[in-house]
């Protein structure tokens, strides 16, 4: 049998579990499992009092493994890991079994079978614990230097802030100048300062800063190493290569503007412009009038959501909202209204998304006479040229589907953002991108700006459409994350990585080929070639596991033995 000493603690969750699962019966059954020396129920296992009781039991009974059957591990895994540590145990001999979200709450009408299921789930947790063993977090040394890719508004902000924290920065920019797209923009909401001014302020700070090294006309071409110590090669347009060591990488490569194909909403006809093109017209018009092609502009129609929220969810489609364009268009209309009065401005929209403080801008535009017309998603407006004018036809939903024809001097297509084509960079960094082409963060709320690659963070619109404000916020988050990582001098990583059984392994390189992160190499050990996992690079995805015919490679916490024993425990009848 086993000499393990496992404690099982079953939570009633104040009725959330105990109303639907007979937790006393569960305890009686679980207590009989081999290896279990103590099984208890509690009303609230997560309460301080119960945690203290469990700690006492762990010490008295000299437990070497614990299972808590309660809510989803997403809620309390770390609570009970901390409890295990306080009791003097390795936190990885603790396993949490979800008998709330995946049992009591979804089987509220069948207590008998819900109880049966709870018993089986806990048995599986016990099986996993029996086959588990203490693990140590993987500690990696870090270099206090950050490589930032992209010197747009996000990258510049990140560089400046990291420097104030005493962290050295290498700023790599593919263009000959820093500043990115914002550098070419006119007045921005809400400060009213121009993008150009904003970038100049940042640039002048950065240029004076000894801790920030700028590499323009350069690309990242190679990356090895791992969090704490990456080795990066950059290549400038003249072919010169430089290698940089950095503890973390911030990807701030930004977006590119959607360019409508010829004919989309009349694009290509004289007087049909994208929002950016119209901003240029405005910036170059004297005050008192707006002129285009030698004509005074009196009527403007804006068509929203061009290149946004279009198409299905297919690869490369623009099914997302570009966030910034509604506000940008409304802001532009206000600027245009200041240049020329009277000016009739018609905004043809699907949904106005001038959220938060930007709502004030929308209200101002309403008050100043901009008219907003909602067209149905499935019936977009049409644009055609007639007698030197443009005619925009739409069905206005707010007048009950009235078909309205607007004679316009200009039609402005409010275009969105799309992901930059970063193929080479994606290959070098091995960063996952979403189907929309933007870089993926791990979780938009729980772990924003972080990627699955430890030590590689994303900032600004490289992650998805953002306005300048949101971009700088996200770059500050990336700064906080990277500084938090580097200023300690080391980083601890979860130990759920792949491990090779040297007895079973006979190096065939199948696992190494399967690994998406190049984390597996070959070494000589005991006179034979075997696979070796670089733990700091391994993400623990387990892709190598099914590749190995010999069952010689496992992911800690999810070993063949653990999984098959869990399956057996789940399948076994409750007598």
């Amino acid at each position: 049998m086993t000499d393990r000493r496992i404690g099982a603690f079953i939570c009633g969750c104040g009725g959330n579990i105990s109303d639907y699962v007979d937790i006393e019966k569960v305890r009686d059954e679980v207590e009989k499992e081999p290896g279990v020396v103590v099984a208890r129920t509690a009303m609230f296992t997560c309460s301080d009092a119960t945690q203290r009781e469990i700690i006492d039991i762990i010490r008295e009974q000299e437990l070497d493994g614990i299972v808590v059957a309660s809510c989803s591990p997403k809620l309390h895994l770390n609570t009970f890991r901390a409890m295990a540590r306080r009791a003097g145990l390795n936190q990885y001999v603790y396993n949490q079994v979800n008998i709330r979200e995946q049992c009591s709450w979804t089987h509220t009408h069948d207590m008998e079978h819900a109880t049966d299921k709870a018993i089986r789930l806990i048995r599986a947790g016990i099986a996993r614990t029996l086959m588990g063993h203490p693990l140590e977090m993987i500690r990696v040394k870090t270099i206090p230097r950050v490589l930032i890719i992209g010197a747009g508004i996000s990258g510049l902000q990140a560089a400046r802030l990291l420097s104030t924290m005493g962290i050295e920065v290498h700023l790599v920019e593919s263009a000959p100048e820093v500043g990115g797209q914002v550098a070419s923009w006119g007045p921005l909401f809400p400060s009213g300062r121009s993008g150009k001014e904003l970038v100049q302020t940042l640039t002048s700070m950065i240029e004076k800063d000894d801790r920030i090294h700028i590499h323009t006309s350069s690309q990242v071409v190679e990356k090895t190493g791992n969090v704490g110590e990456f080795d990066i090669s950059i290549q400038s347009s003249d072919g010169k290569r430089t290698s940089i060591k950095a503890g973390a990488i911030i990807v701030a490569t930004g977006f590119q503007r959607y360019k409508p194909p010829q004919g989309e909403f009349g694009y290509g006809l004289p007087g049909v412009l994208t929002l950016d093109e119209f901003r240029d017209v405005l910036d170059n018009s004297d005050s008192g009038s707006i002129r285009y092609n030698g004509r005074d502009i009196k009527n403007i129609s804006y068509i929203y959501c061009v290149g946004s929220r279009q198409g299905s969810n297919d690869e490369g489609s623009h099914s997302y909202c570009s966030r910034y364009c509604c506000t940008a268009a409304v802001h532009t209309a206000l600027l245009a209204g200041e240049k020329q009065n009277p000016l009739h401005q018609y905004h043809l929209f699907r949904d106005m998304r001038t959220y938060g403080k930007q709502e004030l801008l929308y209200e101002e535009a309403l008050q100043k006479g901009s008219l907003f017309l909602k067209f149905p998603d499935e019936e977009p407006p049409s644009v055609k040229a007639s007698n030197g004018h443009l005619e925009v036809a739409l069905k206005d939903q707010l007048t009950g589907g009235e078909e309205i024809n607007i004679g316009s001097d200009l039609v402005v297509l409010v275009t969105g953002m799309e992901a930059r084509p970063n193929r080479e960079l994606i290959d070098v960094l091995k960063l996952p991108v979403g189907k929309d082409g933007f870089f993926n963060e791990i979780h938009c709320k729980l772990r924003p700006v972080e990627t699955v690659m430890d030590g590689i963070l994303i900032a600004g619109s490289a992650q998805g459409p953002k306005n300048v404000h949101e971009s700088t916020i996200s770059s500050m988050a990336a700064v906080a994350k990277s500084a938090g990582l580097l200023m300690k001098g080391y980083v601890d990583l979860e130990p759920f990585v792949a491990v090779v059984d040297p007895d079973l392994c006979e190096w065939c390189d199948d696992c190494s080929n399967a690994c998406p992160y190049d984390a597996i190499g070959k070494i000589e050990k005991g006179g034979k070639a075997i696979a070796q996992v670089t733990t700091a690079i391994c993400k623990g995805c387990g892709t190598c596991v099914p590749a190995c015919e010999k069952l010689a490679i496992n992911v800690e916490g999810y070993t063949h033995k653990q999984i098959t024993n869990m399956i057996d425990a789940l399948a076994k009848e409750v007598v």
Binding site: H107, D110, F496, G542, V555, I563
Partner: protein, 136 residues
């Protein structure tokens, strides 16, 4: 009579679900938080990524007595692998071949992408899979 049917539905056909820690397991949690019902014969093991599910585990589950295995994959949302769907699809094919070789109906393995808010879709998949399994 109704109790009988309800109870039968809860015990058979039994399904083992492989879910992923970051995406599909939270989706299944959400089904519970929303008090959606699916049979108790459905049990979940969460792993880091669906591309790491070993076909031999699938065979083991059917040998151990499960009637079917459902892989709740991350699809294109996977934070580990951009081509996770492809890889998992490949594994499903391998696993189905393995099942067939061992005398099991390959349709006893099913895969679908379940995202972190796909609670309804998960329950619907389970329902249709159970129906399909009952007819095998």
């Amino acid at each position: 009579m109704t109790d009988m049917v309800e109870s039968d539905k809860n015990t058979r056909p039994s399904i083992l679900v492989f879910a992923t820690n970051n995406i599909s397991d939270p989706g299944i949690d959400l089904a519970g938080s929303s008090h959606m019902a699916y049979p108790t014969s459905v049990k979940v093991i969460a792993v880091p990524c669906s591309s790491g599910i070993d076909p031999r585990w699938v065979l083991h589950a059917l040998t151990a007595g499960f009637d079917g295995v459902f892989i709740a994959a991350d699809g294109t949302d996977c934070a580990y692998l951009p081509n996770c769907t492809e890889r998992t699809g490949q594994l499903v094919k391998q696993a189905q071949q393995l099942l067939e070789k061992n005398g099991h109906d390959p349709r006893r393995l099913k895969m679908a992408a379940i995202c972190s808010v796909c609670a309804e879709s998960f329950v619907a998949h389970i329902e249709s899979f159970q129906k399909a399994l009952s007819n095998m």
